[in-house]
Symmetry: C2
Subunit: 315 residues, 2 copies
């Protein structure tokens, strides 16, 4: 993490930022779920000399991972994959986490390993794990803010996380040493690590990712729902094209994300709808000055954001 | 225009589609307003041997246009630019149209020329012209659905309109021959021409362009309005990035568009907000099946749209 970012770090981000030199200490790593994210972590860590073993319910994913050199070894069960691993990375859909933890908890020596995940919702996920008893102290929940329109292990990219944010959301009982080692693993493959509460993570992601996806899905559906056989899309300009790109994501995954993070999502949606109502009123009453004020403020925020992206790519 | 599109043409689109071979019959063309759109039309027509003269209130734009070879000649007034032109292209902001028409109507021989424009709102613009008396029968309102994040005559591109839609919205008194000649001019520079009523145009643009821009501006403003110094944008993933791109457009231009097309815009906004409320209710009540139904329908529409774009680029 760069010096600038460290200077701006909030107190609750300090522990993950302690080390500026990053080194991955995990020689044996297990990946459970070998898709784009799991495969990209695997190939990045393998380049550093770690031994990678993976399990996936779809055998073809393991075969592809072996052929592509993403992993060293395919396991035939979760248990076999985890047996000798010092780090276990869970890269499965959020809703599969409770069942997976029931199995992990039964493993011999599980307390001596470090466990992390990559799910995009944290609060509700942790709550669902708590239904099954205390959380493992060596479990460090995490979420890389990275992805691609491409899917699957065949598109694995060891540089997927370079200059991208990873948010760690340790729970109340998470061991600090485990958190630090996961942060170092992420930094060793180029990511910038932040630490925050699960609640704050879910609010930020509701704003920056879940709400935009919800709005885009609703817009595309609203436009296509007028019985004119998509004629409208023949006249689509840039505006609609940008929206439609993000509505191309997997409906099942997004249904689950909306459901898993519904409290934060509905909260930011309500604020958004209130802002829309305000803007609607300004347009209806020809309050040109106020409309311009909002548009101008949005453009300033956008220009700031654009600069953030440029700075990130310069590093 | 391709044969497939012609076969699908509605009766009200026929007149602009009569000719499949396109030839620009205008040897002398005046451009009023030399920005990206005016400059791109000029450079495309100039490549075909037309003589291009332009006027712009900003003298630098004319100087740039001359130096870049976009135009042949710079005029020092609207009147001087139009004097010998067979075609006059008005590429100025929508709100400047009434004052411009007052001047055009006073020109000697104006009835012998063809006039068109490129504004993105049609109905209200025509209404505002009617306040000043009958519309010119040789005025063919038009709107190319093309643009770029870049602005200004320096970014003129003779291929900007290739494979892009141009919508003509002749008014009740527009001369058919004038409409056909404007359609042929557009086709000669690669555009696909459709014809529809001003009202239908404004509804389609409200849906495909004005509403998406409004939603994007509101989202960016809503997120940046929380007193956390844009911290949120540090965690922005793909979803927000796509929205923020379209919120980068000029606030003054968009304030004017929202105002000029407010009836259609508020109508589609209200339908959109109703759909959002429905989706909100499904998420709140954990109606997973209905949420998935909407997401899936949106993805199908998006995939169709994506195919439309691919087909367009193949031509």
């Amino acid at each position: 993490m760069s010096q600038e970012t460290t200077d701006n770090a909030k107190p609750d981000q300090r522990s993950a930022d302690q080390s500026t030199k990053s080194q991955n200490a995990f020689k044996h790593v297990a990946i459970i779920g070998l898709g784009l994210i799991g495969g990209s972590i695997a190939s990045a860590l393998r380049q550093q000399g770690s031994h990678l073993i993976a399990f996936d319910v779809v055998a073809q994913n393991l075969a592809d991972g072996l052929r592509q050199g993403v992993i060293d070894e395919a396991a035939d069960s979760v248990e076999a994959a985890c047996e000798n691993a010092a780090l276990i990375v869970l890269a499965v859909p959020v809703l599969q986490m409770p069942a997976l933890f029931q199995r992990l908890k039964k493993l011999d020596g599980i307390q001596g390993k470090v466990i992390t995940d990559v799910g995009s919702v944290k609060g509700r996920m942790l709550e669902s794990l708590l239904l099954d008893g205390p959380l493992l102290t060596n479990f460090v929940p995490g979420h890389p803010i990275a992805g691609s329109e491409k899917h699957g292990v065949m598109n694995s990219d060891p540089n997927l996380f370079a200059q991208h944010k990873v948010i760690l959301t340790p729970h109340a009982e998470t061991d600090t040493a485990a958190t630090i080692s996961v942060a170092e693993m992420w930094r060793s493959i180029g990511a910038e690590v932040s630490e925050m509460s699960p609640t704050k993570h879910d609010l930020i992601l509701a704003q920056t990712s879940h709400l935009p996806h919800l709005l885009a899905y609703a817009l595309i559906d609203s436009l296509s729902d007028r019985g004119d056989s998509f004629e409208i899309f023949d006249y689509a300009a840039g505006g609609l094209r940008d929206f439609s790109r993000i509505a191309a994501s997997d409906p099942t995954m997004w249904r689950d994300i909306f459901s898993s993070n519904k409290e934060a999502l509905l909260d930011v949606l309500d604020r958004y709808v209130a802002e829309l109502a305000e803007l609607r009123n300004m347009i209806e009453t020809d309050d040109q000055k106020s409309v311009h004020g909002i548009l101008d403020r949005a453009k300033s925020a956008r220009d700031h954001f654009s600069q953030v992206l440029k700075d990130r790519h310069k590093k």
